[in-house]
């Protein structure tokens, strides 16, 4: 298992230029048919945010503000945007990277091609959009009471953590979905569920059912950590990494396990990928 992990890590580093170029082509070929081109990458999230704000912000919460841990009061819209900016990256990245291998295998047609670079460049292509959206969100935040702060320096850490999380997950899902195509459907439905159990549109600082606190169940989801981390950085509420040190430890142990399982699976099956087409 550890050997496979080293193989994958080496492959990722060696094909860094390849990943950058291929992801650039990926972005390009996705938008050649639209007149508005890349502008849709901003427009689509805006439309979604508007409807979520109407339904959950005005409808369900009645415009009520959200109180963060340190008693900072945040308008729902800003609270939602700072979380959803992660979702707009993670959601397409997970679903596209899990089908990345089987949908591109015919193009590769060479066993010597570093297979593990395929999910990486798909994730990378989505990361460019994420950076663009982040820039927009940060600019918008400057017109609110949540201005640029020292907490922003946590952002690169959380971006890197998100990228590694996505790669670890993609190694597992892209391999499995190549062998059993149904996995792609499972990924899609789980993603639809995840939207509601991650603090994105529903503020869940406490989930108590019949006197039992079930918040820990929600926190098992690694996305919870990432979303809250982004939010803490953008709103300048806490030093999330150290404030929740045990949670940070949990997150990275989980990622390590996922990476180990993912690379073992990937290395075991990659020579036979063509046979599964």
């Amino acid at each position: 298992m550890i050997k496979s992990l080293i193989t994958i890590a080496r492959e990722q580093m060696h094909s860094f230029y390849l990943i950058l170029r291929l992801s650039a082509f990926e972005v390009k070929s996705a938008h050649t048919n639209n007149y508005l081109g890349r502008f849709w990458e901003i427009l689509n999230p805006v439309i979604q945010l508007a409807i979520y704000w109407l339904v959950f912000g005005i409808g369900v919460r009645g415009g009520q503000q959200i109180t963060m841990e340190n008693e900072v009061r945040v308008p729902f819209f800003i609270w939602m945007v700072t979380g959803m900016v992660v979702w707009f990256f993670v959601n397409p990245a997970i679903s596209k990277s899990s089908k990345s291998i089987y949908s591109r295998l015919q193009l590769i047609s060479k066993m010597s091609f570093p297979m593990s670079a395929i999910p990486s460049f798909v994730i990378m292509a989505n990361f460019y959009t994420h950076l663009m959206l982040m820039a927009v969100v940060i600019i918008v935040l400057q017109f609110t009471s949540f201005k640029l702060s020292v907490y922003y320096i946590q952002l690169p850490y959380f971006m890197l953590a998100t990228l590694i999380f996505l790669l670890a997950l993609a190694l597992i899902t892209s391999t499995l979905s190549t062998i059993i195509r149904d996995v792609q459907q499972i990924v899609q439905s789980v993603l639809r569920m995840i939207l509601y159990v991650t603090p994105l549109i529903w503020h869940t600082d406490q989930l108590v059912l019949q006197g039992v606190d079930l918040t820990f169940l929600l926190k098992m989801n690694p996305l919870y950590y990432l979303v809250e981390g982004y939010r803490a950085s953008l709103l300048g509420t806490t030093w999330y990494v150290t404030e929740y040190a045990p949670y940070t430890l949990y997150f990275w142990s989980l990622i390590l396990v996922m990476l180990l399982v993912g690379s073992a699976l990937h290395v075991k099956f990659r020579n036979r990928f063509v046979d599964f087409l």
Binding site: F25, S29, T32, L107, S109, F113, I180, N271
Partner: protein, 266 residues
């Protein structure tokens, strides 16, 4: 002369599944599940530097499977293949991205083949001049005519300068002018002493290019030797086969199926 391709006891086994249920069982069970189909059985041969080898055989005899294995596209089920240098397959339908322009496709394809940034820049001009499609090089490939598309694919494959070349029925691309151009390129490769494999149903082409030939029959090597011996034998087999009655032809096909399902192995 040095050996460039050494193939030893190569077998390629496919599983035939009647339903998705059998396919799932095949993935889950450690020993696999399903009826075996041997596309290739016990293939062993050696090719030297400068050899131009024709692959002949009736449909379904395993020519394309063998060329894909030689080109490293699919792995063999058992047996080993040693190749000295880089192998490249030229097939008509080489994967081009329709949304991207010809120029972008060149870079994409070269990246996929594992070339470095600088090498790609050097090769680009050469590929563009070989395709000879003018301004279309900066148009998306979806706007190309089918001739342009195959010319682009062919130009990329030959310009990457592989040591071992596998040509799968690709010499008939484009018009006669381009056909002549690609033939010249092939002769140039031959003179440089590259090892080449030709898959073709045109005996004329095989005789023109190749020195040796491999005759495949139901996934096995029926004959391997100089073109002057193998091709006449194959041609007389074809003649005889055509003369067979429908009943006899059916019997031959059944024999083939029986052999390829691996029953003759036991």
């Amino acid at each position: 002369m040095s050996e460039t391709v050494v193939v030893q006891n190569v077998c390629k086994k496919y599983k035939m599944h009647k339903s998705p249920k059998e396919k799932l069982l095949d993935v889950l069970l450690p020993k696999g599940y399903g009826e075996d189909f041997y596309a290739l059985q016990n293939i062993s041969f050696t090719a030297n530097q400068g050899d131009v080898i024709g692959l002949v055989g009736v449909n379904g005899s395993g020519k394309s499977t063998l060329s894909n294995i030689l080109g490293g596209v699919i792995p063999p089920t058992s047996g080993t293949i040693k190749t000295v240098g880089q192998a490249s397959i030229i097939a008509i339908s080489s994967g081009l991205n329709n949304q991207l322009t010809g120029r972008e496709n060149i870079e994409l394809k070269c990246l996929m083949l594992g070339f470095k940034k600088k090498e790609i820049q050097e090769m680009e001009a050469e590929i563009i001049s070989f395709t000879d499609i003018g301004k279309f090089i900066d148009q998306p490939v979806k706007k190309y005519s089918s001739g342009m598309r195959s010319r682009l694919g062919f130009a990329i494959s030959v310009t990457v300068n592989p040591d071992i070349l596998i040509v799968d029925e690709a010499l008939s691309v484009g018009d006669q002018i381009f056909g002549q151009k690609s033939k010249n390129k092939m002769f140039e490769f031959k003179q440089k002493g590259k090892t080449m494999f030709f898959v073709s149903h045109s005996m004329g082409q095989i005789k023109e290019f190749c020195d040796k030939a491999i005759w495949l029959e139901y996934g096995e090597i029926k004959d391997f030797g100089p073109v002057t011996e193998v091709i006449p034998a194959y041609e007389s087999f074809l003649k005889k086969h055509k003369a067979l009655t429908a009943e006899e032809q059916k019997k031959f096909r059944e024999e083939v199926m029986r052999k390829q399902s691996g029953l003759s192995m036991t």
